[in-house]
Amino acid sequence: MSETSAPADAARRRAFAEIVEPEIEVMLRVARSITGSTADAEDLVQESLVRAFRAIDRFDGRHPRAWLLTIVRNTNVNMHRRRRPIAVDDWELIHASRPAFGSVESPAAEEVYVADELDGALQVAISGLDPKFRSALVLVDVHDLSYAEAAAVLDVPVGTVMSRLSRARERVRRALGPTFTTTRGEQS
């Protein structure tokens, strides 16, 4: 941070904490998606927090999550000294890290039915997607990022996220066609 009076500096530090603290979990989720491991994700988030802290004066106050995820993406690139498209979250990674049934808060029985019914077909369909399309799908539909936040992670325009997401969903939907038919009427 630049040189400022002590009260102003203290206020900035508090503001930084208030901006960042609610986003730590999503930063970790995205970082784990990028790196593939919890330990590497923590390293990446830690370094990203340091860089964000140094850059707080340049933050305009809007869209803190997108700002932080952009820093996570750039930090990852810098840490690995290589530029390559980020292929977020191989579906196998998601599947492999899925905890045993019942080890987390139990979803409603109907939701369990929907998930289990689609489970195998969904994995096959998403594994078969082009990594660019899969990344958009995973960020928006699995990690629940907005279009703008996903665009920040992937370093592409929002329109590109929308286009990739649309193609990914349409391909998965078509691939799951028969399964969807059998689950007709099971959703609320």
């Binding site: 730590i24 979803p107 929907v114 969904l122 799908l137 928006v140 929002v158 969807f180």
Partner: protein, 92 residues
Amino acid sequence: MSGALRQMITCHWTARRIQRYLDADPAAPLTPGEVTRLEEHLATCARCSEVMRQHRLLHRALSLWSGRRPVDQASVDRMRAVLDDLVDGHQR
């Protein structure tokens, strides 16, 4: 314009907007007029309403995956500690 052709055009128009309608993302909102036209079409078109149902089901299934693999709370706590150190001036 025949009724069938009009229906086909509206189905195409709807298909291009269903995902934006479901996502309701602030970066790409539909206008109130678009929402009304889309909802009116869905109420009368079985094919498009089935596509809508399938997109909802797909999104729900994907969301359930997210709910089953929460971030390790210990990781969150460690990063909070890093944040506290930064804010308190104890780190770099």
